[in-house]
């Protein structure tokens, strides 16, 4: 029996961490981090879990200590947001190239400057080439469910990659909403005990970790990371299906909402997907065939699967909540455009930037996008890259 509760996104992740009871959690315990480390520290202080919490002096140290703990053979994680993640940058690559199955629970917020604390995806999108698995959530339920699946994916012997579990800053992280929780024993059984294969504290099998890789070896390491990322695709699908059998909520690479017969589709990540769904229902009542592809897994990137899901659409609006400054498309649009090109798609593609620094994204914004996609499909020339929701003065 699912447990009916109401939690903020931060509380939901902290609760999932409690149920998983990882071995080590180093974290920088104040701003720009969220209340997630604080809530976990409370669970530890109350004796509800035996995770070792290490308060560190910076996010650079937080990720370093998480890497150290994971390398030693512990199930480890850290939590951060925004500029805190930027300070981890160097170590993100170290975690991935050392093939450490650790977790980062990220609350997506804008990077400075100008100084801003609100939601956008600049932090994780900037880290898209770091070699981490990235999974995004529409609401508190999904980020809870995603965290419970995290270690099953990252620790899988064919994967061994760090995993980032993302949610939208404030919009879901600080909003109180309904959620269905799973029983502790169900979560424990699903996640299982961690059995590291190679680890530094194994005295039977000594190993080196993170040594210098000369030019003769560096490239092979990168190729191995790519293979692991490819392997992660099947693992993510298998874990998402098994999670569905346990919880009633199945997960894949993305959710399709009224997409199968859609002429006009929006592709979007995170909480804005829910708002877009309400716009789609309004349009469907008027007989307009609008649909949505909500991307859950950005790394590994399900290129062929996305192209196949969009193959019947006449016009596609791809929505980016971060800027890439290439002057023609946001990062999500650039990658999906490449996938559509390879699939020989003839669809019109429009790149929209929305919601930077917490700019609100409303049902009306989604309606405006669909309106323009309809015109584009009918042959009208529309701007192929533009901002929505800008101030008029």
């Amino acid at each position: 029996m699912a447990i009916r509760e109401r939690l903020s996104g931060n509380e939901a992740v902290a609760y999932a961490i409690k149920q998983v009871n990882p071995d080590v959690m180093p974290a920088f315990p104040i701003t720009p981090s969220t209340e997630i480390p604080q809530l976990v520290a409370n669970y530890i202080a109350n004796g509800e879990i035996d995770t070792e919490f290490i308060p560190v002096e910076s996010e650079h140290s937080a990720m370093s200590a998480t890497i150290g703990a994971s390398a030693a053979g512990a199930r480890a994680l850290t939590a951060t947001s925004s500029c805190g993640m930027a300070l981890m940058w160097e170590l993100l690559y170290v975690a991935a190239s050392n093939r450490l199955p650790l977790a980062l629970t990220l609350v997506n917020r804008a990077l400075s400057g100008p100084i801003n604390i609100n939601c956008d995806h600049s932090d994780s999108m900037g880290a898209r080439d770091a070699g981490w698995i990235q999974i995004y959530a529409e609401n508190n339920q999904e980020v809870y469910d995603n965290f419970i699946q995290a270690y099953r994916i990252s620790e899988h012997k064919d994967v061994h990659l760090p995993i980032m579990i993302c949610q939208d800053g404030f919009i879901t992280s600080h909003a109180l909403a309904n959620i269905e929780l799973l029983e502790d024993d169900k979560v424990k059984n699903f996640v299982g005990e961690y059995q590291p294969e190679n680890y530094l504290l194994n005295e039977q099998e000594t190993m080196a970790l993170g040594p210098y890789a000369v030019s003769n070896y560096y490239m092979e390491t990168k190729k191995a990371q790519v293979e692991a990322m490819k392997n992660a695709k099947q693992v993510i699908l298998d874990v998402g299906k098994e999670f569905g059998e346990m919880s009633g909520r199945s997960y894949g690479f993305f959710e399709e909402y009224k997409l199968s017969d859609a002429d006009y589709a929006v592709v979007i990540i995170g909480s804005a997907a829910g708002t877009t769904k309400d716009a789609i229902d309004e349009l469907r009542e008027k007989g307009i065939k609008a649909g949505l592809l909500k991307l859950r897994v950005f790394r590994p990137f399900p290129a062929e699967e996305i192209a196949a899901a969009l193959k019947n659409c006449k016009a596609i609006g791809i929505m980016d909540r971060s800027e890439g400054f290439n002057g023609q498309a946001g990062p999500l649009t650039a990658e999906i455009s490449a996938a559509l090109f390879r699939a020989k798609s003839q669809a019109k593609v429009v790149s929209y930037i929305y919601g930077l620094g917490g700019r609100d994204y409303r049902v009306e914004d989604a309606l405006e996008v669909f309106d323009e996609l309809k015109e584009a499909a009918n042959g009208k020339e529309v701007e192929q890259f533009r901002y929505i929701g800008l101030r008029s003065r």
Binding site: R6, L176, T275
Partner: protein, 190 residues
């Protein structure tokens, strides 16, 4: 989507408008509803205007934007009437609840011709009488529940008592005062 009641809170940092919005979400959740309770975050400072929101529904809540066309507005601090367009987008079938010691007739001219129902409540007096201190959020919470009828009085009071027992487990002496503030506000909002 008119199975959904949308409420916007205007307060000043430190007055508990955010807490009140979260408490309203909490009590409506216990009543069996789907809820959202969220503040609009900015550079928060004591005394600066803040906004918080509630959606309360029998349906699944998917929209994640702020609320622009609320059914109800709660104004926790009447000095905001000069600074903020509190009735912006407010439904004329709904209403506005204002914490003030002034008679309604003196408040209405500040509402930019709003034609819906206007309710006032003296949350300062209630709070000081019931709690001995000025914490307007409990009386304002009861007032909006009374006005919006999102739940019945008796159920609201009994759920709130349970919440307070949990929230104030370490200082039970404030529970009765808060309950008194809720009961007084329920009667006095008009």
């Amino acid at each position: 989507m008119k199975n959904t009641v949308e409420i916007r809170w205007h307060g000043r940092g430190g007055q508990g408008a955010k807490t009140a919005a979260l408490l309203l979400a909490d009590v409506c959740f216990k009543h069996g509803k789907n809820v959202q309770g969220f503040p609009e975050y900015g550079p928060e400072r004591m005394g600066a205007p803040i906004t918080a929101y509630n959606r309360i529904s029998d349906d699944e809540l998917r929209v994640h934007s702020n609320i622009y066309d609320p059914d109800y507005v709660v104004v926790v601090d009447e000095t905001l009437l000069e600074a903020i367009d509190v009735t912006a987008g407010l439904s004329e079938d709904g209403g506005i609840v204002i914490n003030t010691q002034k008679p309604k007739e003196e408040i209405i001219p500040h509402l930019k011709g709003y034609k819906g129902k206007v309710y006032t409540i003296d949350a300062r007096r209630i709070s000081e009488e019931a709690l001995g201190k000025y914490f307007p959020n409990s009386p304002m919470l009861a007032a909006i529940v009374a006005v919006s009828k999102v739940m019945e009085k008796d159920e609201f009071l009994s759920q709130m008592e349970t919440s307070y027992q949990h929230k104030f487990a370490k200082k039970p002496e404030v529970i009765e005062g808060n309950m008194k503030a809720l009961r007084m506000a329920f009667e006095e909002v008009k």
